[in-house]
């Protein structure tokens, strides 16, 4: 397989810049420490936090109690949500305790326990804009403090720069003296109003954090420039995909027709407009090519119009929204995977397609060149 399974011990780069990207590790920050084995756990190779903090541990693998904070968690579906979930599961397997804090989704509010004993706090704050909690500077302080104390947390891990709950939690946790880690999942701009405001907030919140994690070198550059933190504090840990779930097809596909698969949200940011230009051109130049387009969004109408205009109904198949459980079955029906996003910190879709045995074609943006 292209990507090693998570059970194998994997060495991740200590400092970003050492890694060459051909071993796209696992999603947690690993530090291989050849210390004495702990008979209880069986493997004391890994400590969650990085060397400056674990020096205090005297070579013994210490178990942490970690609070993951983000506005984005299940039942909302997306990259950040699955990242937090899989990361928490891996940490639980290593013996640490993980608690997730997010805002309430509709009627889902209160405490829930999910797989592996992961405790999720759905705090009843209303989301106000794109799944973000209303950014009151200090009103989330009581509940964050209560959760930190009652769960006896040792490390707070915030996800996604666009999440207001994450920023507030990091700020309050740092004020109270907890260790704080931040993971940035996306690239953001510098020029538009929303980005300017968010970068100001980021400079404030990230001024005092202990470590930051970015998913690619481009993302690290972007985060360091936006937030003004020192590059020594930023680690590069690429995302990973569950290879047990995305296995190639057992049957070989026939090569009479080349099938190109596109699965993405059909929005401007993911390059749906590029697809509209490219698909008729490719269909004209190569008569044996077919397209399968999965996903839904505001730009779907444009793709349908393109189909009508060039009479490509038999050559372009539109599947609509594809549930995550069926993504693999759609992927293995094709030869090539096409990703046309205009910006991407790290494209998990490409990894999933590669894991299923497809060839991948992508726009050369963001963190994508580092994946080859």
């Amino acid at each position: 397989p292209l990507i090693p399974r998570p059970e194998q011990p994997i060495q991740a780069p200590l400092r970003s810049g050492d890694g060459d990207g051909d071993v796209p590790a696992v999603t947690f920050l690993l530090l291989r420490r050849p210390r004495s084995t702990n008979a209880r756990t069986g493997s004391s190779y890994f400590s969650y936090v990085t060397s400056p903090i674990s020096h205090a541990m005297d070579g013994q693998s210490r178990k942490h109690r970690i609070l993951m904070v983000s506005d984005f968690f299940f039942p909302n579906f997306g990259g950040v949500e699955s990242h937090i979930y899989y990361l928490s599961q891996c940490l639980l397997k290593l013996g640490h305790k993980v608690v997730v804090m997010t805002h309430a989704y509709g009627k889902r509010s209160g405490v829930r326990y999910v797989t592996g004993g992961l405790k999720v706090y759905y705090v009843p704050w209303r989301p106000f804009l794109m799944q973000n909690t209303l950014p009151t500077l200090f009103m989330t302080f009581p509940i964050i403090r209560t959760i930190l104390i009652r769960e006896r947390i040792s490390v707070v891990h915030g996800h996604q720069a666009f999440s207001t709950l994450c920023h507030e939690a990091l700020m309050h946790a740092r004020t109270m003296g907890y260790k704080v880690v931040f993971t940035d999942h996306s690239l953001y701009g510098f020029a538009d109003v929303g980005s300017i405001h968010m970068n100001k907030v980021l400079q404030f919140t990230l001024a005092d954090i202990d470590q930051a994690i970015c998913v690619s070198h481009t993302s690290k550059e972007n985060t360091v420039l936006r937030s003004g933190i020192s590059p020594d504090k930023v680690f590069m840990v690429p995302n990973a995909v569950d290879t047990a779930m995305f296995t190639p097809s057992s049957n070989r596909l026939s090569c009479d027709e080349i099938i190109i698969v596109v699965i993405s949200r059909l929005v401007y940011r993911k390059g749906a407009d590029l697809l509209v230009e490219v698909i008729p051109e490719v269909c004209r130049l190569f008569p044996k090519v077919r397209f399968i387009v999965g996903g839904d969004g505001p730009k779907r109408v444009r793709l349908e119009e393109m189909r009508e205009k060039f009479s490509l109904q038999d050559r372009v198949e539109m599947l609509g929204a594809v549930p995550h459980a069926q993504v693999r079955s759609v992927l293995i029906s094709g030869h090539i995977f096409l990703n046309s996003s205009l910006t991407e910190a790290f494209c998990i879709a490409i990894l999933e397609a590669a894991s299923c045995g497809l060839l991948t074609v992508s726009t050369r943006v963001g963190g994508v060149p580092e994946m080859t």
Binding site: Y121, M139, I143, T146
Partner: protein, 179 residues
């Protein structure tokens, strides 16, 4: 008429357990807060003063004096303090349980739940926008809502644990024997 008493206390709450003539009584006592009593008197005086001022100064009546009456009524309602002296849970084996609230004014509220109605006692974590606390509730048969055992108090989980264990033992013995 055996009387056995064990106590745990934490903060303003104090837990005692007695066995009297076959029934188990679990009490949680609350200490009275002098400040809150004072504030409730202040609120009541405020309301009285506002009403008297509005009634007596007939010449200089304005919108402000008119609205001050309901405003001070709201303030005095908020400050109102009907202190709970203790909340009790009386377990009558094979019969049911009784929830009691004793107030400092001498009033007692009682509620009886037969054993056939109780499915299971649960310790819940309740999350509000500002805090998170433990509460003891009963799952009832044929009802959508759980019933809180302690309606007015939020005792810490250390005090709720022995009560929950006693209730579990009670419901288990109740479910084994035909009711």
């Amino acid at each position: 008429m055996k009387q056995k008493s064990q106590g745990i206390s934490s903060g303003i709450y104090r837990y005692t357990h007695r066995c009297e003539s076959g029934v188990n009584i679990h009490d949680i006592f609350v200490e009275r807060s002098a400040f809150r009593v004072l504030f409730s008197y202040v609120g009541a005086t405020c309301l009285l003063a506002n009403v008297c001022r509005t009634l007596l100064s007939k010449e200089s009546l304005c919108l402000g004096s008119f609205w001050s009456v309901p405003f001070s009524a709201i303030i005095s309602k908020c400050l109102q303090y009907n202190p709970v002296k203790k909340e009790s849970l009386v377990i009558m084996p094979a019969f049911g349980i009784q929830l009691e609230q004793h107030f400092w004014s001498g009033r007692v509220d009682r509620k009886f739940v037969p054993i056939s109605k109780i499915l299971q006692p649960v310790l819940n974590e309740c999350v509000t926008p500002v805090t998170c606390y433990w509460s003891l509730a009963l799952l009832l048969r044929d009802e959508d809502e759980t019933m809180l055992v302690f309606q007015n108090l939020h005792p810490p989980v250390k005090l709720l644990l022995p009560i929950w264990k006693a209730l579990c033992a009670f419901t288990n013995t109740g479910s084994i024997s035909p009711s």
